[in-house]
């Protein structure tokens, strides 16, 4: 607006963010170099010991693997399904607003509630899924099936978000481009491949960043749906860290696990920034 400094208006926000977000991050790094058992008030500096222990901890590697599995599969399927639904909805039709509202409902429902809903659907004895398929599968109790089951819940819950963003991206693509391409003889697939996809790519990238960072910290779904089981096949980094922190109360080692999860976020961000820079060239 003018030359006046607006810094004093931002101060409350900055103080709060520094105190409740930045300080805890620094503190968790500090904690990760300590042996800290909360109940006994033990706190001792031990250097890299927690991290060295982590390297040899097979349960950590298992959780890391599960988190990568969950993130890669759920995010790619969400974007694929979201793109298909967005393309379907990208036209004027009666009840457009209502359709959009109904699609948003899974997104608005608390993750805990959706996980409970699906737990009942998956139920081996009385679940409607087995009834509809005429099967007797123990979806949440079989090691190979529990993770796909959890991924399905995540896809159901977050595809609406993807649809809404992609739809907004589709709607700013100028109609003339399609008409010109059609005049040049482009078919439906060619239109999608050479007009829609390249122009939508920046939005797809934003969606990928949002969804990947969100999926990487997955906690609610697996905590409620499977509790990390069976045989830790659905135990993710966040869930393992939570258990070490609040069930065995090892704040030092749990903090080291949290720091690694945090570093993963940094890695994912750098990865996407590099891709988008390369894309612009």
């Amino acid at each position: 607006m003018e030359k006046e400094s607006g810094f004093r208006y931002i101060i409350p926000a900055l103080i709060l963010l520094a105190a409740v977000a930045l300080y805890p991050i620094l503190y968790v790094i500090f904690l990760s170099f300590h042996r800290r058992l909360l109940i006994f008030d033990i706190s001792r500096f031990i250097g890299w010991e927690n991290y060295l222990f982590l390297l040899g901890d097979s349960r950590f590697w298992n959780a890391l693997q599960n988190t990568v599995y969950f993130t890669v599969v759920s995010v790619s399927l969400e974007v694929l399904l979201g793109l298909m639904i967005a393309l379907l909805l990208n036209r004027p039709f009666r009840g457009e607003g209502l359709a959009r509202a109904l699609i948003l409902i899974p997104w608005a429902i608390p993750t805990v509630v959706s996980a409970k809903m699906w737990e009942w659907i998956y139920n081996a004895d009385f679940g409607v899924l087995n009834y509809l398929l005429g099967s007797k599968v123990n979806w949440l109790g079989a090691p190979g099936l529990a993770m796909p089951a959890a991924i399905m819940v995540d896809i159901w819950k977050t595809t609406p978000f993807v649809v809404i963003l992609l739809l907004a991206g589709l709607q700013v693509i100028p109609r003339e481009l399609y008409e010109e391409a059609r005049v040049d003889g482009a078919g439906t697939w060619a239109l999608f491949r050479w007009v829609t996809l390249p122009l939508l790519l920046p939005v797809i990238l934003v969606v990928l960043i949002f969804r990947t960072l969100d999926a990487w910290r997955v906690f609610d779904v697996v905590y409620v749906l499977t509790g990390g089981g069976p045989a830790n096949t659905t135990e993710t980094l966040s869930l393992y860290a939570y258990r070490v922190l609040f069930q065995t109360l090892q704040f030092g080692y749990g903090s080291a696990l949290s720091v690694v999860t945090f570093l993963g976020v940094g890695g994912i961000t750098v990865f996407y920034v590099k891709i988008s820079i390369r894309g612009r060239k």
Partner: protein, 271 residues
Amino acid sequence: MKRTLGFYLLLLLVGFYCLGPYGWQFLTSLKPDGQLTQLPPLFPERPTAIHYISLFREPTFLRVILNSALVASLTTVLSLLVGTLGAFGLAKLRVRYKAFILGFILSTAMFPPIATVSPLYVIIRALGLRDTWWALVLTYTVFSLPLSLWVLTNFFREIPDDILLAARLDGCGSFQTFYKILLPLAAPGLFTTLILVFIFSWNEFLYALTFTSTPASRTIPVAIALFPGIHELPWGDIAAASVVVTIPLVLLVIACQKRIVEGLTAGALKE
């Protein structure tokens, strides 16, 4: 554009996919316990309200709803208060190192909750705030700030500088300009932010699970995750509870679909 039968069939399929699980939960909530273990029939033969009645007879359930409503409302008010001030500074005034400050604000949105939950737990315990609303209100306010600052800044930028400048020339101070001119003009943006922050606070789970320990401050997601039941889960009651706590969100989404879409896309697509 063609609107063929195929299109509407596909639309119906998408609708069924999105609403089916919720619909099934609703049907489940209407079945007496004896029928829950029988399939078929899919639909309840004699629908019953017994699960809803037992739910509302349970004093802790009402308490938990009250907790969630209060925590989410307080959070929304505080987040909007701090957020509008900050967004005004960022959108309309001169700020040094603006890019750096915006970068810092956005990066806090990427902190995984698991990385901050343990130090915050230590702090909250030290302050004696464990198992209180304030532990959650403080945490939610801060972690909703990146969202509200970002969305509000985008909305404020769209308000023409000329209008604000005219107010300044009439002798309004910057704060007066902010709350007398800018805020009323940005009302739709405030409403959008309000909905997004409310939904975030209503649904949050990890902090709530960690910072609360009794029904005194427990919120809905925690109560549903820890639903009492030792051997067999009371599926009818859980279904009824799920339906009850989701109804406000469903109504909100249907009533404010445009605003929500606007907020989500403003947050993500404008750079």
